[in-house]
Assembly symmetry: C2
Homo-oligomer: 326 residues x 2
DNA sequence: ATGAAAGCGCTAACAA
DNA sequence: TTGTTAGCGCTTTCAT
């Protein structure tokens, strides 16, 4: 039925050890190696990775746990991670948690059962706070959101600075009634809010903010309601690409003209932001770099399990488009 | 070091078989089951999935091979597939081929080595034509693109009809100089072109068409060049979401006003299409249904390996927006 | 350089 | 219901 290394050995007239060595590029004479290769071709043999992992005790697999792969930010990061991983001979298991702590716990358990080499993880705040990398049995690199107190390695954006960049830009365009919309499950939302609030405080301005579930629908609803109020902001900072999508839908539904009636600026240079309305002003995250840096940190951590945790902080780039211009 | 079922058995004072049964919800008395669970908690035991797969001879894993997860169509399909799969207790391996036949071959080999239960595969035309599901050793369900002659199960859109829908719509809006842009690597592009050409032929009109690599960049370039020509079309049908993105960038770069100077209609109701310009008229694919149907077909095929191959043809829905209105 | 043999952690006969 | 035992296919000593 299924052909094993034993069948190959038999067909080649060598021992299973020799076949294994030939496969692993170990010390095998050219003559035997040729015989083995012929036998593999003749039998149609394919190594069984489960057996290999069981015996060799390394899975060469990393887990990538994100909230939702439909978010273009995570899609882009995951492509970068996968490309690097496959080049390094590692597989990637991708999981979507929908920002649900129960699912996060479930997938972390799965990662243990898969005996993964390591995990790259965009955790909710709740999980990041209680994460115990020691107990998990594999290294974890957090992306997008960091753990408090440097409990784990992390690759993040300088969220506060980026939010400040957006506020400064809107101020330069003459805005003073600036509101902010943020996600309520991640530390990222909190950090961006902090930067937003600090920048406005420094300017002596109020910093009205709202927090919503991290979905386009929630954002659309929140923005619609907010803009209908008497003291509605004239400019809006939106904390991520998903929320920005919802905000933009609200703007369209209300028939508002950007930037005349409302200035809009947000996070994530998703491909559509350049095409919507007059183009949306956004903070571009270095998504490829985030993926690469996370993989690199994971590999470093594997080599030096004891070194102290690090946080790589990357800088966002302000992309100015029509939605925020005076 | 790593705790195995043996350690649990020892701690619980039972045999390894009893632990295994307790884990598999086999016949175990409540008393022993409690002891086992206590021992698992005490030891922090986690089953080793590699060992389980090796011994049980089923991986409970399905492979999902797409061209590029950054394409929102595949992102959406993959989410649907994963949700169904995880509910059915299966894990998913996701691979990106970038429409590269070498990568396709490599990942199919990987699937064999993982001893996957089955594969859902968006193949290039080249690979679909030579696909031999028998030799692979696992069932394959093609998505988005079918194999000629029904060589494998498939879930596809009625591409020709959908393209016809777009042409009819543009005709109704009074257009007669209608051009089409299609991808050059997939059967999907070919089918959409066929439907496009047939619909225009029936109307007694010319059907100028161009074929490009399936990237936004190639589309942008092709559209820019085409619209600069003397006999440029006044309406454009674009074969998928990625190409549509490129086309839209070209439109913006040229400063064209939709739909006054150019009518635009295409495939894939990606979230941005409602926000770009006056909103883009598109064919919406039932992405969730595609994912679900593919998983369902895979499971059916596993139960009935011998039944003849089937092709599930789903219907696209025309979503009319401003980009194509007279 | 090659082979014999042990055993990774688990499930599935088979016995009891 | 429970325990004993034989492998699943592979890598890795340990000999030779």
């Amino acid at each position: 039925m299924t052909v094993s290394i034993k069948d190959v050995a038999l067909a080649a007239g060598v021992s299973v050890a020799t076949v294994s060595r030939a496969l692993a590029k170990g010390p095998v004479s050219a003559a035997l190696k040729a015989k083995v290769e012929a036998a593999i071709a003749a039998t149609g043999y394919r190594p069984n990775l489960s057996a290999r992992r069981l015996r060799s005790r390394h899975s060469d697999t990393i887990g990538l746990i994100v909230s939702d792969i439909r978010n273009p930010f995570f899609t882009a990061v995951s492509r970068a991670v996968e490309d690097v991983a496959y080049q390094a001979g590692m597989r990637v298991i991708l999981c979507n948690t929908d920002e649900n702590p129960d699912k996060e716990a479930m997938y972390l358990r799965l990662m243990q059962e898969e005996r993964v080499t390591g995990v790259i993880f965009a955790a909710t705040r709740a999980t990041a706070e209680t994460l115990d990398a020691e107990a998990l049995g594999f290294p974890v690199v957090l992306i997008d959101r960091a753990a408090p107190g440097g409990a784990a390695d992390a690759v993040v954006l300088d969220n506060a600075a980026a939010a400040g960049l957006l506020v400064s830009h809107l101020r330069e365009q003459g805005h003073s009634r600036i509101g902010g919309l943020f996600g309520n499950t991640s530390s990222t939302g909190a950090e961006r809010h902090a930067g937003f609030a600090a920048a406005l405080a420094q300017a002596g301005l109020a910093a009205p903010a709202r927090f919503v579930a991290p979905t386009a629908e929630a954002a659309q609803q929140a923005v619609s309601a907010w803009l209908a109020e008497a003291e509605a902001p004239r400019a809006l900072v939106i904390s991520n690409g998903l929320l920005l999508l919802g905000a933009m839908r609200a703007v369209r539904a209300l028939g508002l003209e950007l930037p005349r009636q409302l200035a809009l600026a947000g996070f994530d240079n998703d491909s559509w932001t350049e095409l919507a309305g007059p183009g949306l002003t956004v903070i571009e995250q270095p998504v490829d770099e985030i993926g690469r840096a996370a993989m690199a940190m994971l590999l470093e951590r594997l080599e030096q399990p004891q070194r102290s945790t690090r946080k790589v902080v990357l800088t966002g780039r302000l992309v100015v488009r029509g939605s925020s211009l005076a």
